[in-house]
């Protein structure tokens, strides 16, 4: 799609962004807007809520109802928004640190509640904004500013975390797989209940520079060469899958009542005086 058609969803007067040239955040933003455009959503009835981090600055550039909140808390702010205004499509955007570390608790509980939010994780496997410290998704042995001898912790697999917490739509793409990304975000927004899209993206400035891929194209090549589809992954051994990025739709469970559906039942009971 031509970028021009998407300009109406942007606050161009807030440009240029704070992002480094070539940062994957821009690709995710475009994919999101393309999904919104395909779904013909009304701008005034979309709320985008972000936390704190490079990725979370996205809300300042998007011309919807936007909230740039606190580090890690986008999901709980968004929970309040959704419960107050069910007619809104509520989208959460944030980094891997924001959503899986400091906000990890809110993440799993939102999945468990099946609250009708779409969570887009800008997963660059690093703390970009604060200068390249390791995050809960930094792979073992990789370098980071706070892992000068290599990282010793096992990373979270955000898709698996969402699945085991009860999320009803879970998908993963990389920024290299742009068309898939658009499709997943679109499906996620359409889905009723919680949807999580884990997007592997490039912070070449920190993650790349510390790990031998200082140019955006090098990280793109890495994503291209190391991704396998979920279908293919089924026939691969655990060793073969090490260091691979599994992409695809992990779960799509439609028709399950979301939190607000259940709360409607509560209201009926309460009003009947039970």
């Amino acid at each position: 799609m031509k970028t021009k058609q998407l300009l109406k969803y942007l606050r161009i007067d807030r440009w240029p962004t704070v992002w480094c040239p070539g940062c994957g955040n821009g690709i995710i933003l475009k994919a999101f807007l393309e999904a919104v455009d395909q779904l013909k959503l009304k701008k005034d009835r979309v709320a985008v809520v972000s936390g704190i981090g490079c990725s979370s600055r996205a809300t300042g550039y998007l011309d919807f109802n936007t909230m740039h909140t606190l580090h890690g808390r986008a999901i709980s702010f968004a929970t309040g928004v959704k419960l107050a205004r069910p007619e809104f499509k509520v989208i959460v955007m944030g980094g891997d640190g924001d959503l899986a570390s400091i906000g990890g608790n809110h993440f799993i509980h939102a999945c468990r509640r099946n609250i009708d939010l779409t969570v887009i994780v800008f997963n660059n496997m690093i703390y970009g904004m604060t200068g390249g410290q390791y995050s809960p998704t930094t792979p073992e042995e990789e370098m980071a500013s706070t892992a000068p001898y290599g990282h010793i912790e096992r990373p979270f697999d955000i898709a698996k975390l969402a699945l085991s917490s009860g999320a009803t739509y879970v998908a993963r793409s990389t920024v290299y797989h742009y068309n898939l990304l658009v499709k997943y975000i679109k499906d996620a927004i359409e889905h009723r209940g919680i949807s999580v899209v884990d997007v592997i993206t490039n912070c070449h400035t920190y993650y790349g520079r510390y790990n031998g891929m200082p140019q955006p194209y090098q990280m793109m090549e890495y994503f291209k060469n190391n991704s396998v589809t979920i279908e293919k992954a089924r026939d691969m051994s655990e060793e073969e899958l090490e260091e691979k990025i599994v992409i695809g739709v992990f779960r799509r469970e439609e028709g399950k009542p979301c939190y607000l559906d259940r709360y409607e039942e509560i209201r009926k009971k309460a009003m009947k005086g039970r």
Binding site: T59, D63, M67, H68, F77, G80, V81, L83, R267
Partner: protein, 387 residues
């Protein structure tokens, strides 16, 4: 049939909030505030509202800010440990000028402290708990009847000044049952939010613009609903978008403080008891003020001229009235269930010749009328020259 019912403080807090228009409550269980959540869980769905028990106090505090910005009056309630966790969110509500009510039913601290014992230990945390320069409104009722009444005021002030309001309660008041009468509709004023259609275009797009600096009256809250809506905890200009030039930064922080400070006399609420001829003034708030009143009645039998000033908004306090009182007394007694958190705020206004007696207690027990009476006798003998 009598109009009176037996009502618990926590219950009055919940019912008062609903009467004030609260339709979203998020909380995490903690003694002695859990009953507020339980009443909300029962009552809110009946009036079309939403109750949700969140995973922690941080989620509770942040979700009520989200709900308020989306257009629904909201509140949370907690106690010391949870109130500590909420501080970052309170700062966000201050910065984004989001009406919200945070109830703290105090218990003994620090840390887990004394979960079921009364304490007035959060006076300073209520004022300065979140980081950075800021102003805040803190309301502190003394009776169950007042809990209900001032809860409505708390919501009204939050809306009018676009600010979080902290509502402090004593553990004892939260759990106590007292005679209570529901006020009639005509006795109650509830601030209603403006709707999108009632606003001018520039009010929607410049949600933080104020008329003139000297009177930084906040603009009415523009709730979510137009694509231009943006809030951020970053320093921002009147459009709400981040803008970090020194002039804007300084101007914003000053305005956020001044909008409360310059309206302190309008905001401040207090009560007085037998102050007309008082030579000794007691300053006490919340449950402690009730012990003080009892002590005053006994002392008055002995013709001791003693009276009470009870701040209902402890922040901001009515400095105007307090200075008048302090200028004509001989002795001042400040009684509080902490080690003197509020005393310095009052002492700063007192004359240097005033004899001062502090009554403090942190043992998880109330300050008794007798203890205050002892303090009265002590300063009285000082005045009489026997001391």
């Amino acid at each position: 049939m009598s109009d009176y019912v037996l009502m618990q403080g926590d219950e009055a807090a919940a019912l008062g909030a609903i009467r004030a228009g609260c339709r979203f409550y998020a909380g995490y269980p903690i003694t002695p505030a859990s009953e507020i959540a339980e009443v909300m869980a029962r009552e809110l769905p009946k009036v079309g509202g939403v109750f949700i028990q969140m995973e922690d106090e941080i989620a509770s505090a942040t979700s009520i800010i989200g709900a308020s910005l989306a257009g629904v009056k909201s509140m949370t309630a907690t106690s010391g440990p949870g109130f500590s966790l909420m501080q970052e969110a309170i700062g966000y509500a201050i910065m984004t000028e989001t009406p919200t009510v945070f109830v703290d039913v105090m218990r003994g601290g620090p840390s887990t402290g004394m979960p079921t014992k009364p304490s007035q230990g959060d006076i300073m945390q209520a004022r300065w708990g979140t980081h950075g320069d800021h102003a805040i409104i803190v309301i502190y009722p003394s009776t169950v009847q007042e809990v209900y009444k001032y809860m409505i005021t708390a919501f009204n002030l939050a809306e009018k000044y676009r600010t979080p309001v902290v509502f402090l309660m004593d553990e004892l008041l939260g759990h106590m049952r007292e005679n209570f009468k529901f006020p009639e509709d005509k006795e109650i004023f509830v601030f209603s939010r403006l709707k999108e259609e009632q606003l001018k275009e520039e009010e929607v797009f410049l949600p933080y613009e104020t008329e003139e600096y000297a009177e930084p009256t906040p603009q009415p809250l523009v709730e979510m609903g137009k694509a231009k809506f943006h809030v951020s905890g970053l320093i921002h200009d009147e459009s709400g978008f981040p803008m970090a030039n020194p002039e804007i930064a300084g101007g914003l922080i000053r305005r956020l403080v001044e909008k409360i400070r310059l309206h302190a006399d309008e905001i401040a609420m207090y009560d007085e008891y037998m102050t007309e001829d008082a030579e000794i003034l007691i300053v006490a708030y919340g449950i402690t003020a009730r012990s003080a009143m009892r002590a005053i009645r006994i002392a008055r039998n002995d013709r001791i001229k003693v009276g009470l000033f009870r701040p209902i908004t402890i922040w901001p306090v009515s400095r105007t009235r307090l200075k008048q009182l302090l200028s004509r007394i001989d002795a001042l007694i400040i009684a509080e269930m902490n080690l003197g958190q509020y005393a310095h705020e009052i002492l700063e206004m007192a004359r240097s010749s005033t004899k001062v007696k502090l009554v403090n207690k942190v043992s998880g027990e109330l300050i008794t009328p007798q203890e205050i009476l002892d303090a009265i006798t002590e300063v009285q003998s000082g005045i009489m020259g026997y001391y």
